[in-house]
Symmetry: C2
Subunit: 269 residues, 2 copies
Amino acid sequence: AAMAGCGWARAVRGLLLDVSGVLYDSGPDGGVPIAGSVEAVRRIKASGLKLQLCTNETQATRESFVRKLRAMGFDVSVAEVTAPAPAACGLLKERGLRPHLLVHDDLVPEFAEIDKTNPNCVVLGDAAENFTYANLNEAFRLLIGMEKPVLISLGKGRYYKETDGLKLDVGAYMKALEYACDIQAEVVGKPAKRFFESALAELGVPAEQAIMIGDDIVSDVGGAQQCGMRALQVRTGKYRPSDEKHPEVKPDAYVNNLAEAVDIILQQL
Amino acid sequence: AAMAGCGWARAVRGLLLDVSGVLYDSGPDGGVPIAGSVEAVRRIKASGLKLQLCTNETQATRESFVRKLRAMGFDVSVAEVTAPAPAACGLLKERGLRPHLLVHDDLVPEFAEIDKTNPNCVVLGDAAENFTYANLNEAFRLLIGMEKPVLISLGKGRYYKETDGLKLDVGAYMKALEYACDIQAEVVGKPAKRFFESALAELGVPAEQAIMIGDDIVSDVGGAQQCGMRALQVRTGKYRPSDEKHPEVKPDAYVNNLAEAVDIILQQL
């Protein structure tokens, strides 16, 4: 009987998983796995389904991000992570852009091979403690001094939850700079279509055979559906009951957590 | 011949003056008077014209602001200053609001008589060095935790110029919080109509007999014109040549500086 409404789970060959709020709850000391998620990732892999993590995480390199996840017990590798910084590097090279970085210290190594002299754009990530008054003024002055200011934002999240409380996300600071300079940022990361398409390419499965699972109704669910994927919202992480009355986005299903989503999907295989 | 195009200067009984960028250029060490402005204020007073300073300054109490101006040689008094913080206090009392303040330390005494326990709104000013990551997160958490978040912003300027460079103004941080909470701030200060009306009441002159003189094409010129005043833009302070091609706002005249505006106005008396 529980299966009656689960047509969305049929003909799946791969899963895109958001990470923070789905695999674990992040916090200043690293974070804690969400109950059942470690086992759920193991079961996905054992089933033969393909899996790719699709994250807007910009507080660390993929290498250290994966180290953190593995320390929590998740069986994942660097190649299984699609993240905004590498995507931004591709875009910078393509267009000959030299960034000024306003990002988290731990993300800087992702840009090691990018020329950063004499900047002609600003790349904004979730800089956290680096979002100081001085650093924001510096980024602003560089932008307003450009003939055609280019602001590349690694995501446009409004806020996220850490174990010690809610934090403003990169989107809030993006809006501050957009307003001050009267410009529009280019967003790399979810919900940008191009970013989901990269994740699907790395997953190796077409959109109609993939399911996105995330806690963010707009970035994860709305973004994935725009690309032709099915998308589930978990009731963990930043999920709020009011999400279920969202005026524009309706997930293909709600699940209590990743473990429940995997239960249902594996029963359909 | 120079008078041919100066019909705007006729039948004037009072002047509203923006301060930063018109009387002086502000800076971390206080600022420096703009050439001719000290003498221009003296000549306005000697002429019998009424004068009121109409400022979005929120980095200091009116008392210390006036002390700073007097030290630069300007003959002005506290009663001649219309500023956002006192206007916000009126609004807070009227509506029984208890603010959490994210403002400059030196502005706090303006709110001495306001109950700030158990806050049910956030008041945002140009907090400058107080715009830290921690303080912004704190203001955000308070707002997102309210059933109906109320954000009162003391102005919505994009940026301003200090002697050591451009700085993000309160409007940028307002946009960050608006976006994160999905709300609209209530703006106290220019260009709000209610704020100009208070300034006119304190000036004691009806809109059609008053001229606003400012360096901000939108806040000063556009705002004053919306209230039925004539408005001049000075080519000092944050003025940029591109302002003269603004798609929506056209001042009644451009003047090189306050001294030139006063020359023309006094010749019409």
